[in-house]
Amino acid sequence: MHIPNGFLDPKVSTGTAFAAAGVIGYCIAKVRQALSSAVPEAVFASMGNIACNVTGGSKKLISSFAENHLMRMGAVASLIFAAQMFNFPVANGTSGHLLGGILAAIAVGPFSGAIVLSMILTVQSLFFADGGIMALGANILNMAVIGTLAAYYIYYFTNKIFKNKFGFYAGIFMAAFFSVISASIACAFEVAMSGTIELSKILPAMASVHARIGIAEALITIMAVEILKNVKFDLDGEVKDEE
């Protein structure tokens, strides 16, 4: 549901851009904080680069932990980027593709996941003409903030209530489904607020199409999480116990 240029009026595009920038800025701050505070002491000792001599025993030193986390984010970003290219048919001449927000949030943590998604969306709009540059703020707000950060908490609380395998998979299923639905509803509101089309028309159309895509999203996310587990990808998030 990448919104192209022209669907949004300047007011909505700038408003969503500021909102998205604020939340992503907060996410970056959160990830930086987690990376500089969650470095285990063992990692401090095991660094072997020249920079190590300069940084000495500083708390904020160049940790392989942080660089590893960044590369994990990159790997997940490339996986989701590729998966977003894979359009699958859903119904009568309509296709859908993975949003990947919940996959990113489970793989690298909700805040890093939102950064991963916004990075993908930026690359897509700058180089692949998928989603307008003027609508980038709205796309980031829909897919990275609502579809990743907000939907992650469905997974989180389901996991908290059912502390077993059922909770894990049910959480992924529900979070992935609602991430797509809520992102599409937000998209409908933004397009309607811009005066492109009446809300009463676009809202049911978007929600009904994306309900099907949401089910596919949930199944693919569960499959992808299983694949990540099989290649021993740590599903740790930024820090072990996310609050």
Binding site: M1, H2, P4, N5, G6, F7, A51, V54, T55, S58, L61, I62, A66, N68, L70, M71, M73, G74, A75, V76, A77, S78, L79, F81, A82, A83, M85, F86, N87, F88, P89, V90, T94, S95, G96, H97, M119, V123, Q124, S125, L126, F127, F128, A129, D130, G132, I133, S184, T196, I197, K201, I202, A205, M206, V209, H210, L228, V231, K232, F233
Partner: protein
């Protein structure tokens, strides 16, 4: 172990991109379909881009073109994250040097 895992994920994503080039559905996606159905599709303005709609213009074969565009995209994203890690390292070292000099 870590690097192997990350390499595995990158290889999987390249495989997905190549498969997407060959097998992805070319039907309009959710929003495009709704826009077409409600007749506001024509309001969309095309965005300029190097690889418009995931195609590399020099390759005419649609599947190979999309697969190559996907691989380029993956490399681009990996490059961005690698650069962030690299810049982070440089900035941290610079800060440390400044601090040492002040002492």
């Amino acid at each position: 172990m870590k690097n192997k895992t990350i390499l595995a994920v990158i290889l999987i994503s390249i495989a997905v991109a190549v498969l997407a080039g060959f097998f992805a559905s070319s039907h309009p996606d959710g929003l495009e379909k709704v826009a077409g159905g409600l007749k506001f599709e024509e309001k969309s303005k095309s965005t300029p881009g190097i690889f418009v709609d995931y195609t590399v213009s020099v390759i005419t074969h649609p599947a190979f073109s999309a697969a190559l565009a996907g691989i380029i995209g993956i490399l681009l994203i990996l490059f961005i994250f690698r650069s962030i890690a690299f810049l982070r390292r440089i900035v941290l070292v610079l800060f440390r040097i400044i601090k040492l000099e002040k002492k």
